[in-house]
């Protein structure tokens, strides 16, 4: 088999595998940031395929496509980050399942096998317990909004 054809097939196969892995992550993961990273993996698979085709055709059109892909990915990252920060301020976590709240008030909640969050929980870190002594400190109301209180 000709070597350039071999390179094209290799690049396309690897691009397909990266695309598939990214797709699985985008479907399965529930952290919004990880979903976004999975979509970037899909982009990388596509970019690799384009570079492979550019090599096969002997021109740089595929490279031009990848340049625009990078530009679009940068725009997407900016918008996504702004949305993530807004969502985190609003709901306190970055969970895809929060999207279930986007429904009419009289409709039932979507059914899912894992929606109850009871499958596996990480053990909480063990903090040392000290005996109470002295005057109880005043709680700063501002600190109640911090991350580990939410």
């Amino acid at each position: 088999m000709n070597i350039e054809l071999a390179w094209l097939e290799r690049n396309l196969l690897l691009g397909a595998m990266l695309f598939g892995i990214g797709l699985v992550g985008a479907i399965c993961r529930r952290n919004l940031i990880v979903v976004f990273l999975s979509i970037e993996l899909v982009f990388q698979g596509v970019a690799l395929s384009w570079v492979g085709w550019a090599r096969w055709h002997g021109n740089v059109d595929g490279h031009v496509f990848v340049v625009f892909l990078i530009a679009v990915a940068a725009c997407e990252a900016a918008i996504a980050l702004a949305l993530f920060v807004t969502i985190y301020h609003h709901w306190g976590r970055l969970d895809v399942l929060l999207g279930r709240q986007l429904r009419e008030a009289d409709l039932p909640e979507m059914e899912s096998a894992i929606a109850d969050d009871s499958v596996e929980q990480a053990p909480a870190p063990r903090w040392p317990r000290l005996p109470p002594a002295g005057v109880p400190p005043q709680v700063d109301p501002q600190s109640l909004n911090q991350r580990d209180r939410i």
Binding site: M17, C28, R29, V34, E40, D61, V67, I70, A74, D95
Partner: protein, 265 residues
């Protein structure tokens, strides 16, 4: 089983099983055993593909592909989002290496700078705002891991079978197909507006680039040539992409901006 389609089916099933074991919620520490069927699947798919005719090329491609694939699997399998970001950076490094091997030097640098440098660091900032330790329920639970792994397996199985079959078909009629492509691109080269620029950017003609000798091929994909294409044939698209970036910047500022005061007094 001499039929390559059978091997691709086996590889897809193995890959689905491995991903299902690795994806959250998984099975505790034993979930890392899922790496074994995944390695077997990747080896089957890449092992079926044609030989690159030199051990050096095989070694470089294989190591870069391994880095890219291991990073990709780690990205979707790690519990802590910070680790996901680190695995993703590894995958980007592997992809950049593959682009370098494929004569796309500028893209290799750009993908490293933009993805691993800019986007990933921004994500780490956001991760520091949210729960970075991976103890949240939505980090430790997945959304239908079996169904999603099966979906990915079907997609990858169909794609790999089609790619392999098309490659085998093209191999039979290779000289004619290749000749047609390059005579067509040589014609385009004569009429395209880049022809004027090509004369000043030390770009060889396409027929020389069509041969497989490396120095000519490297210069056919030079950064100068990419710049000439970008700023001649694709000039409008470049400008539109610039406007798109500006619009995204403004939109992000508006989305995240402070709440507007409704009453002026």
């Amino acid at each position: 089983m001499n039929d390559p389609h059978g091997w691709y089916t086996v590889a897809a099933i193995l890959g689905a099983a491995g991903l299902w074991m690795l994806l959250p919620p998984g099975h505790g520490r034993r979930r890392w055993l899922g790496a074994l069927p995944l390695v077997a699947a990747g080896g089957l798919i890449l092992g079926q593909s044609p030989w690159l005719q030199s051990w050096a090329a095989e070694l470089v491609f294989g190591s870069m592909a391994l880095v890219a694939l291991v990073g990709a699997v780690g990205t979707i399998a790690a519990r802590q989002p910070v680790y996901c970001a680190a695995w993703f950076a590894l995958s980007v490094a592997g992809t950049a290496g593959l682009m370098l091997v494929n004569w796309a030097e500028l893209l290799a640098a750009a993908i490293l700078i933009v993805y691993a440098g800019a986007i990933l660091v921004m994500f780490l900032f956001v991760l520091m705002l949210s729960q970075p330790d991976g103890r949240a329920a939505h980090d430790r639970n997945g959304w239908e891991p079996l169904v999603s792994a099966a979906t990915g397996a079907v997609l990858v199985g169909v794609l790999t079978m089609n790619i392999a079959a098309a490659s085998t078909r093209a191999d039979g009629q290779f000289p004619a197909a290749r000749q047609a492509i390059h005579s067509a691109s040589a014609e385009n080269n004569g009429t395209a507006p880049t022809a004027r620029l090509d004369a000043t950017t030390a770009t060889p003609d396409r027929s020389a680039a069509a041969e497989t000798d490396r120095p000519n091929q490297a210069t056919a994909f030079s950064v100068a040539r990419l710049g000439a294409e970008l700023f001649s044939r694709h000039l409008v698209a470049v400008e539109v992409a610039g406007v798109l970036l500006l619009v995204a910047l403004v939109a992000a500022t508006v989305i995240i901006g402070p709440a507007r005061r409704r009453d002026p007094g």
